[in-house]
Amino acid sequence: MRFVVRRLGFFAVTVWAAISLNFMIPRLMPGNPAQVLVAEHPHLNPQALHSLLALLGGTTHQSLPSQYATYWAHVATFNFGISLTTSFGKSVDAMVYQALPWTLGLVGITTLLAFIFGTLIGLISAWRRGTWLDSALPPIFVVTSAFPYFWMALLSIYIFSVTLGWFPSEHPYNIFTDSPDLNWHYVGDVLDHAVLPAFTILITAIGGWILTMRNNVITVLSDDYVRMARAKGLKPWRIMWHYAGKNAILPNLTGFAMSLGFIVSGAILVEYVFDYPGVGSLLLQSVNDLDYPLMQALFLLITMAVLVSVLAADVLTAVLDPRTREQS
C-alpha cells in the first residue's frame, strides 16, 4: 500500500511538471501564433489581423502567472481552444476526438496483437530451442522489424494493393461510396481498409516482443525451480506456461503497459502513407502548420497517456513480482 501511495505522489509531481512544461515551452519558443497568422493570411491588413487576434484572445495582456492559472482551468475542463492554422476556427477538442478513435482502433489493436503473438512466439521458440520453429520465426521477424514503418507500408501497398489488388491502399473506408454510419457494410469496409496498415505495424512491431520473451524464457529455463519442476515430473506444457512463461513475461508486461501509452501518439508514418486520419496524421499536420493550440493539446494527451501507463506498469509489476515491493 505504501508503495502505491509513494508511486501516486511521484505521479502527481510528474503530471504537474509535464503540464507546466507544456505551458512554458511554447512560450519560450521563437515566434508566436500572431506571426503564424500573418504568414497564413498574407492579404489581411493590420486592422483585420488585429481584430482576428482579439477574437482569439491574443490582444488581452495577461501576466504570466494569471495566464498560467487560466491555462490550468482550461486543462482541467479539457478546453484546448481553437485551431489556428490547420482548420482555423475549429475546436481543438473536436479535432482530437475525430482522430482518436481511428488511432485507438488501428494502433491499439495492432499493439495488443503484436504483444500477444510476439510473446507466444517468443515463449514457444525458446521452449523448442533449436527446432526449425526457433531457427525460422524469430530471425524472420527480427529482420522485418528492422525495416522502417513507411518502407514496409509502401512495399505492402505495392504488393497487396497495386499488384495483387487484394486490399485498398488508402483511407479508413471507401470514402466515395460509404458514409460513416454504423452498419455491417461500413464495419466490413473499415476492417478491409485496416488490413494493410495493421499488417505493416504488426510485422514491424512483433520482433521486439519475440526477442525479449525468448531471451527471458531461456534465462528462466536454466533456473533451479524449473529444474525442480522437471524433476518432479510435471507435464512439459505446465512447466512452459506456469513456471517459465509466467515468470518470463514480467518484463514484457511492463513494456506492454508502457507501449499502451504510446498508442495515442499514433503511428505517424503509417497513418501518413495510408491516408489514415488518426492522431499521428494530426500531429504531423499540426507541427507542419505550427498550430500551437493543437500541438499543445496533442502533446499533453500523449504525455498524460504515457504517464498513466507508466504508473499502471509500476503497479502491475509490484502486484506480480513481490521482489519489487521490498525496501532496499
Binding site: 497564413e40 493570411h41 498574407p42 489581411l44 483585420a48 477574437l55 476556427g89 491502399s169 501518413y272 505550427l290
Partner: protein, 563 residues
Amino acid sequence: MTTTRWARRLTVLGSTIAATAMLATGIVTATAGAATRTADTATGTLNIADEWGFAWPCQFNPFNANDFYFSFGPVYEELAYVDSINRGAVTPWLATAWTWSNGNKTLTFTIRKGVTWSDGQPFSAADVVFTFNLLKKDPALDLNADWSVLSSVVATGTDQVAFNFKAPAVSYFYYIADQTPIVPEHIWSTVKNPATFQDPHPIGTGGYVLSACNGANQRFTANPHYWQPGLPKIETVNFPSYLSNNAANQDLTSGVDQWGSQFIPNINKVYISKDPQYYHYWFAPVYSVALWPNLTNPILSDLAVRQAIAYGINRPLVGKIGEYGEEPGANQTDVVTPTFSSWYDSSLAAKYGNAYAYNPSKAVSILEADGYKKGSNGIFAKNGKQLSFTIINNAGFSDWVSAVNVIQSELKAVGIQVTPDNLSGSTYSTDVSDGKFQLAYQWDTGGPTPYYELRQLLYSANTAPVGSPASSNYERYSSKSTDALLGDYVATTSSAVQHQVVDQLEQVMLSEVPVIPVTEQVDWYQYDTQHIAGWVTASNPYAQPGQYVTPDWGVVLLHLYYK
C-alpha cells in the same frame, strides 16, 4: 489567397502504379444510376484529387482564410467572373452589368434577377449590400482588404449597388467583383460572430450544394434550382481529403479521380503513360517565383551586382532541374508568359539582352566594369568586400530547395557566392516580410493582368522599414515615379493606357532589377477525358484549372459533362 497550401512536397511513391481503371468505372456507373432528377439532367460523378494534407474540418465560411476554398465557387458565387488566364476576360455572374463613373471612383453593378439561394429564398441587391457592409463591420472577414479602398457600398434603385471608392481604383474591380463571395442576408444577419462562424451547411447561389461532409470526404450535389439553365451537368462531386501526395497521385493514376491538382514528379512516366489516350495535363503559368535582393543591403543596392545575378542565372535550367521541368523559366520583366504574352514588350526586352537571358560572360564583364576583381577563391570582391550572400528559403518546399541549389552553382561559376539558408515555414515568412535577409527565394501572387503582380512588387505602400512586416514589397523598393505609374493604371479603364503603364513598369523591372524572377509558378492540373468532357485546355482557357483557385473551380465544374 494563402500560398502554403498547394506547395507540392516531393514525397513520391516511386514505384509505378498499375492502372485499375475498372474500379473507377465501377464507381461511376454505380452512382450515375442513382441520379434521378426532374428539373434537368445532371448525371454522373466526378472525383477530385488534390492533397490538402488534413482531414476536412467541414467548415465552409467563405470569409475564413482557411475554409473559403471549399465553398467559394461551387456554393457561393461572385458578382462577375474574371478569367486570369484568358486576358482577364470578364463574364457577368450575379451581376449582369456594371459601369465606372465619377472619375473611376464609383462602380455600379446591376444585380441579376431570378436568382434564388439554395434554400429557395430570392437573391437580391440587398444581399450584395449586406455582404460588403458585413466585411466593413468585421475587418477580419475582409480577406482582400476591399475596405482599404472602399468608402461606402449602397443600394441605388431596386436592383443596383454602387461601390464608392476613396480614390480611382479600377484594378480593384477584380477583388470586388471576382474575389468576394456574396452571402445571403437572411442567414448571415442572424450569425452572432461571423469571423468564427463555421457555416457547416452553406446556403449559396452556386451550382452545387453540400450534401455530405465528414473528415474524409466533402460531397457536393447539383443544385436543382440553379439560375443558369441546364447547369450543372455533373450530379455529384466528391472531394476526398488526402493526407499525402502519393495517395492522391495514386487515385489519379488509377482513374479513381478524374480531376487532379497535384504535383506529380516525372509526370509523363508516372501519370500520362498509364493511359495516354485519356490522361492529360496542362500547366498554365500564373505568377513568378523570384530571387529577392534586399535593397537596403549596401552591396545588393548596387545595380551592377543585381544585373550580374540576373544574367548569371540560367532560368530554364532551374525549372528543369528544380521543378522536374514542370515550371518554365521566368523573365526579368516579371510578365508571365505565355499566359500574359500580349503584355510582354519584346522590343524593350531585346534592349536588355532578351530580358536578361542567361549570359554568364556578360555577368562577369558587368562586375569587372563596376570595379570588382576575382579573388584567389574565384569570388568577386571590391574594397575587400566579397560578393557572398545567403539566400533564405522555405525548407518545407523541397522543389525550391533544389532550385536554389542550381542557382548556387550557376552563380558560383560567375564568381558570386551564395549560401542557401533553409528555414522553417513561419521563421522564413517572418524573415521575408520583415526584410531580415540578404537574398530570399519567394513568390508573390498574381491577378488577371501582370499589373497586379508588378504592383505587389513595386508599390512603396506595400513595403515597410526593415524589422516591420511588409505586405508584398519585400525587397524594400521605393520610387515616387513608379508609384505614380501604378496610380495611372487604376485611374483609367482604357486598355491601351493600361498597356502603356505596364510597358513602363517592365522598363522599371529591366533597368532597375529590383527583383529577379526565376521560374513561373503554374496551376497544377491533370484531367481524365475517358468519360468526362468540357475540360480547361490551352486552347480553351475558360478558367484557372487548379482546384484550389477560387472561384474558378466552380466555373470549371459548370463546364464539365459526361460524354
